[in-house]
């Protein structure tokens, strides 16, 4: 097992290395640089920059260096905890993004947990009560969940929550807690604001996972060993939950790797609509302004999540299914 994890970790590092090279290359590709956008803004404010001043700035930020050189500078910085500099915000990327990433992770993690907690029981119920009215209802809701775009769901839920539940929508905190230090009151306030984005972000994946769970369990329920379990005299509940569900979980676990970054992606749209202080909206801004170090930090962060998600999925799978442990 230790061997297995070690090999996976090495593979992770190599994968991340390749991702960083490709991502950096792509972000460097478009003409111009973040500095151009910055210069443009300075000029539009009426500032008069001489050519020599521009040169000096370009020199300072190494704008005309070959991309490989910039890449190694950047990677070297990463190891020192220096993620680069954001021209747009005139701040170091690290502190700028840190707090927001925390909220992104919180939102994604909660959404993932929510999706699993809802989709597994629903999928199991749907499969064991196939072609009954509750199954049809669950299936219909699934299709709607998969089909409705996130921004629309966010808007509808926002209106609904504000109108009928009197909830304070938008943001993650009420005004009085926004700048306050952490306390139980603030945590509770966060909970009261979090449920809405969690539903919005997880709706698609919950619906999809329910679908996967149902289809797989239907397959497994036809397996001979399920009949064997029944022939032992086990209760139907034990047959389903102990013998069948564990064998139907594989695809759900396999998707774990992809679900984490997908949730972050979903979070971007939901965060813009719901005005959440997460990393998503910052990322979009960064891309639009060619704020390359901010953008690439975000990209790398998503990639790390993808790779970690896959590692987690592999470990979970090995835990659930002894046949995987051989490799």
């Amino acid at each position: 097992m230790v061997n297995f994890i070690a090999r996976r970790l090495i593979a992770m590092v190599i994968t991340l290395l390749f991702i960083s090279i490709i991502a950096f290359f792509l972000i460097e590709l478009p003409p111009g640089s973040a500095l151009d956008a910055e210069l443009l803004r300075l000029r539009s404010r009426g500032g008069n920059l001489s050519l020599s001043q521009v040169r000096e700035l370009e020199e300072r930020f190494g704008v005309h260096d070959p991309w490989q050189e910039k890449y190694f500078k950047w990677v070297g910085g990463l190891f020192r905890g220096d993620f680069g500099y954001s021209f747009r915000y005139s701040r170091e990327v690290g502190p700028l993004i840190a707090g927001r990433l925390g909220f992104s992770l919180l939102l994604a993690g909660t959404s993932l947990l929510f999706a699993w907690l809802v989709s597994i029981p629903l999928g199991v119920y749907s499969a064991t009560h196939r072609n009954t009215i509750p199954d049809y209802i669950i299936t219909t809701i699934q299709f709607v969940g998969v089909a409705v775009p996130e921004f629309l769901l966010a808007l509808v839920l926002m209106v609904f929550a504000a109108r009928f539940l009197g909830a304070d929508v938008g943001g993650l905190f009420s005004r009085q807690y926004e700048a306050a230090p952490w306390s139980w009151g603030k945590v509770w306030d966060l909970m009261k604001h979090l449920w809405l984005p969690v539903i919005v972000v997880s709706a698609g994946s919950t619906a999809w996972l329910t679908r996967v769970m149902r289809a797989n369990l239907l397959d497994v329920l036809n397996a001979q060993y399920v009949q064997t379990a029944r022939a032992k005299g086990l209760k139907e509940n034990a047959v389903v939950w102990k013998h069948a569900v564990r064998n139907a979980l594989h695809p759900l676990i396999m998707t774990l790797g992809g679900v984490l970054p997908a949730l972050i992606g979903g979070e971007v749209i939901a965060s813009i609509v719901l005005n959440l202080p997460t990393a998503g909206p910052l990322f979009i801004e960064a891309l639009r302004n060619q704020d390359m170090y901010l953008a690439i930090t975000f990209l790398m962060f998503t990639s790390v999540l993808l790779v970690i998600g896959n590692l987690l999925a592999d470990l979970l799978l090995a835990w659930v299914d002894p046949r995987v442990r051989l490799e």
Partner: protein
């Protein structure tokens, strides 16, 4: 509940001289309601399994052998339903007879019978063990359910029974996962699981079909040994006549959801009566047959399951077909003259043709349609 000592006499008679039947199936009817139509899987099956004996159930694919076995366990899969008949079960020679079909499928009484009184082995050893649990744990589960609440004791018993079915190094096997065992070993493990609670009846649904001949021979001899040792009755479902000859005391031949002939194993092989049984036996390749001599086959195939054949269900394929009788009147089951344990369902034999006033076509309630088979 199941006490092996009570069975060791393998007595097939009650103290008053009557036959002691462990299981008595009467007029069992099973139908499958599919979207394409209704499949009549069993159309009134009657047979009995004497205590301590091995009953072979033979027939082609689709004749209803497996469904008969599953009916006894009340495990007929959806959309199948047991529509009629009785399955009488007697735990001990002097205990009360209960009709298994009266118990709810999920009732505690039924679950107490499953696995404890009646064990079952399936055809596919490769898929009949759960891949994610250790072999020992799967056997232990059944013992915990029926015999003892003590986990350690149940585990020890699981190891013991694995040892008993001839597993080399039973302790290690108990700790391995199914994918680490070969097909033959898995089938041994299944047998161990089915026998773990010393059942009165073991339903073996083609247990050796998926195995190679060497392994098959080992498994069969293992089952014979265990049967004589603990006195379990066996319902042996197979389509292999050679296996029947080796294993069984009595044989029931099934065709299209009906039993067409019942007899002792000797009578089936040396004095078969029903044309279907005769054809089945002729279609086995034999040693000593001349080169180039063609193997006899039963002409035609099993009719499409959604149709109903009028009269005798075998008439479209029967070499002794009598027009006007076989295709209109359903033969009834009757004893062969001078025998008390050999019955047949064929118009060739006296007693099988119902009196003309009762001569109804097909099964009651069916709409007779012509068979789609040739």
């Amino acid at each position: 509940m199941a006490d092996p000592v009570a069975n060791t006499g393998s007595t097939a008679t009650t103290p008053d001289g009557g036959v002691d039947n462990l299981i008595q199936v009467e007029n069992l009817e099973v139908r499958f309601y599919t979207q394409v139509g209704v499949v009549r899987a069993l159309n009134g099956v009657d047979f009995n399994i004497p205590r301590g004996q091995v009953l072979g159930v033979v027939g082609e694919s689709g004749s209803g052998k497996s469904i008969t076995g599953l009916s006894i366990m009340q495990l007929v899969p959806r959309p199948g339903r047991v529509e009629g008949g009785r399955i009488l079960y007697k735990d001990k020679p002097d205990s009360k007879t209960i009709n298994i079909l009266d118990l709810g499928r999920q009732s505690d009484e039924m679950r107490a019978i499953r696995g404890d009184d009646i064990g079952m082995i399936f055809q596919e050893p490769m898929t009949s063990l759960n891949p994610v649990f250790k072999v020992g744990a799967q056997i232990q589960e059944a013992i915990l359910l029926h015999q003892t609440p003590n986990k350690q004791e149940a585990w020890d018993r699981a190891v013991d029974i694995l040892d008993k079915v001839g597993m080399p190094n039973a302790r290690r096997v108990a700790n391995s996962y199914p994918h680490e065992l070969s097909g033959g070993m898995r089938q041994r493990a299944m047998i161990a699981m089915a026998l773990s609670c010393s059942p009165n009846l073991l339903i073996a649904d083609e247990p050796t079909t998926a195995l190679d001949v060497t392994t098959e021979a080992q498994i069969l001899s293992l089952m014979r040994d265990l049967q004589s040792e603990i006195g379990t009755s066996i319902m042996f479902i197979t389509h292999n006549m050679g296996v029947v000859a080796q294993m069984c005391d009595e044989v029931a031949v099934m065709y299209l959801g009906r039993i067409v002939e019942r007899a002792t194993v000797d009578d089936i092989f040396y004095d078969p009566k029903h044309p279907y049984t005769i054809s089945l036996l002729r279609s086995i390749p034999r040693l000593g047959q001349k080169r180039g001599q063609r193997l006899e086959v039963i002409k035609g195939g099993v009719p499409d399951p959604y149709s109903t054949v009028t009269g005798c269900p075998f008439h479209p394929r029967c070499p002794s077909f009598m027009p006007g009788l076989c295709d209109t009147v359903l033969p009834i089951e009757a004893f062969i003259e001078g025998k008390t344990n050999h019955t047949v369902r064929c118009h060739l034999y006296p007693g099988c043709t119902p009196d003309s006033d009762q001569a109804v076509t097909g099964v009651s309630g069916t709409i007779p349609t012509t068979s789609k088979a040739q």
